[in-house]
């Protein structure tokens, strides 16, 4: 009895420690936004009075509206297209099996191991030839068909009851209608989980936008903040203020969809 309680106690202590370590940087970020850069690098952990200064500095140095608009447009459009294209493919691969398509799918999984760095130069050359460098199109297009998300949807589709599709066929639905009116609503948890993953990936996407977005007014918040951090003496107060703003969208999405997220992962791991 006491041994079990001791063990239970240790579990709580360790989990609390892990939770603290996980959450502290968020606290730090928020507190940092109210402190001066000097205070931050001296490790001040209490709320300060520099919030207004930091905010003013941030909004004068960064065309925030524009930059967040850029990030938002890219992330929303890319996420919507990725979900559409990848879930169609996942559905297609799982529902219509053929030997050729199975081989193709295996081949795609192999491609997952190829780093983006290997495609970067040809992609860049392609987009410069198409005169699309420094456009959102160039940022979004290569991210739409994601093998990882196709795989994820295919796995999740395995749990989609086949008899539901049969019933819908007898009810007179065409295949695209089955996808739209039955598959999509039934799989909404899967879509929620994918939304979180894909939105975060796009919002945080770094290397490719860094390569392809060149003028300041087209950059994303991620790129801008990264630029500020790279300064010789970075103004951490200003940067952490921006960081809080940049983290908000992903946090909001996460908390809105969190319940469905676990459900959705559940389906995919089956």
């Amino acid at each position: 009895m006491t041994f079990a309680m001791l063990r239970r106690g240790i579990v709580y202590v360790l989990l609390s420690l892990a939770a603290f370590v996980s959450v502290f940087p968020f606290y730090w970020m928020v507190v940092g936004a109210t402190n001066t850069s000097a205070e931050i690098i001296k490790g001040k952990t209490s709320l300060g009075s520099a919030l207004i200064t930091n905010a003013t500095a941030f909004f004068t140095q960064v065309d925030a509206l524009r930059i967040f608009w850029n990030s938002g447009v890219i992330a929303v459009v890319a996420t919507a297209l990725t979900l559409l294209v990848s879930s169609l493919a996942g559905y297609g691969f799982e529902m219509f099996r053929s030997r050729l398509r199975e081989k193709l799918f295996g081949f795609l999984l192999l491609l997952l191991s190829i780093p983006f760095a290997a495609m970067m130069v040809p992609l860049f050359v392609m987009f410069s030839q198409a005169k699309l460098v420094n456009t959102f199109t160039a940022v979004i297009l290569p991210t739409i068909a994601s093998i990882f998300i196709i795989f994820y949807f295919r796995q999740a589709t395995k749990a989609f009851p086949r008899e539901l599709r049969d019933a819908a066929k007898i009810d007179g639905l065409k295949e695209w209608q089955i996808f739209l009116y039955v598959y999509l609503p039934v799989m909404r948890s899967t879509y929620a989980a994918a939304t979180i993953i894909v939105f975060m990936a796009n919002w945080n996407n770094y290397l490719w936008p860094l390569v392809v977005l060149q003028t300041a007014e087209n950059k994303t918040i991620t790129l801008i903040l990264s630029g500020l951090t790279a300064a010789y003496t970075p103004d951490y107060g200003l940067i952490l203020f921006g960081t809080v703003l940049a983290t908000l969208p992903t946090l909001i999405i996460f908390f809105l969809l969190q319940r469905r997220f676990v459900e959705g992962m559940l389906g995919a791991v089956k």
Binding site: G92, M120, P142, A145, F254, L266
Partner: protein, 286 residues
């Protein structure tokens, strides 16, 4: 026919923006020259690899990150998942959300936060000194060894919760009665973990390991931001991806050679994934 219609959009996009560039880069890796003046060089680039001290440095660093970061993260994620899968645990939802929260941050946010926390007089050093764990502040960003440690800690912080969710999801699919039967049979907790949980989670563990391996071998964003793009101090956090980026966009561009370096990553991922599959299969037969 309908089947092809559903996958066609994805296939066209992948063909255009993935397969075509990959083939191109494979072709490029046999080209030598600067900028756009390329000519066929056979195996010249591969030879150059063996003599390129910076490349070997980057390879070593990447490998170090992989060897330490992936196992630490997978083990932590598994332990958290097991602890949180216990239905009698209080505040499960809170712990789960807290530990998952780091993946909701943007990459740049956490790089900046970590950089400021790990400043020489920063909050981490202060705390460690107050706890008398260290006597002098650690130069997290300036010392080659600690810079690596910092990167490993940062990635682990960011991705452990993500992997944990996969395991938690998989565990919820395991029939509870299996554990109940084992408890009635007197199987102790550690053995239930070792002989029931682990084997049943093996496909997910394998999956997350392969995904993490790929992620770590392609490591770029973190090292770029921690070192302001340099891979410093003194190349100690230079990874293969960062080196490729530098070869392509920083120095006089050397497209052919940078393509060759990127294929090194492909080969590494291939070998490591294969080994991981092999290990997973061996355990099954024994």
């Amino acid at each position: 026919m309908t089947g092809w219609a559903f996958i066609a959009p994805a296939l066209i996009l992948l063909g255009l923006f993935m397969i075509y560039p990959i083939v191109w880069s494979l072709w490029m890796s046999f080209q030598v020259g600067k900028g756009m003046n390329l000519s066929f060089g056979g195996f010249a680039n591969i030879l150059r690899l063996t003599k390129d001290a910076v490349f070997i440095r980057a390879l070593g660093n990447t490998f170090t990150f992989f060897i330490f970061q992936v196992p630490i993260m997978i083990v932590l994620a598994l332990l958290f998942a097991v602890a949180l899968n216990d239905a009698t645990l209080k505040f499960r939802g809170f712990f789960r959300t807290a530990i998952f929260l780091p993946c909701a941050t943007s990459l740049i946010a956490y790089s900046t936060v970590f950089k400021s926390m790990f400043a020489i007089d920063g909050v981490v050093n202060q705390t460690l000194m107050e706890l008398h764990l260290i006597t002098a502040p650690i130069s997290w960003l300036g010392d080659p060894f600690w810079a690596k440690v910092l990167i490993i800690m940062a990635i682990t912080w960011r991705w452990t919760g993500y992997n944990m969710i996969f395991y938690l999801a998989a565990m919820q699919n395991i029939d509870r009665s299996i554990y109940e039967a084992a408890r009635i049979d007197g199987v102790p907790a550690w053995a239930r973990f070792r002989y029931l949980t682990i084997p049943m989670l093996k496909p997910v563990i394998l999956f997350t390991t392969v995904i993490s391996t790929i992620g770590t071998l392609q490591l770029f964003d973190e090292v770029y931001n921690f070192s302001a793009g340099s891979g410093g101090p003194s190349d100690s956090t230079l990874t293969l991806s960062l080196y490729i980026y530098n070869l392509t966009f920083k120095f006089m561009p050397s497209f052919g050679y940078s393509a060759t370096v990127s294929w090194v990553i492909v080969v590494l991922v291939g070998i490591l994934s294969f080994l991981q599959f092999l290990v997973a299969r061996d355990r099954r037969t024994s």
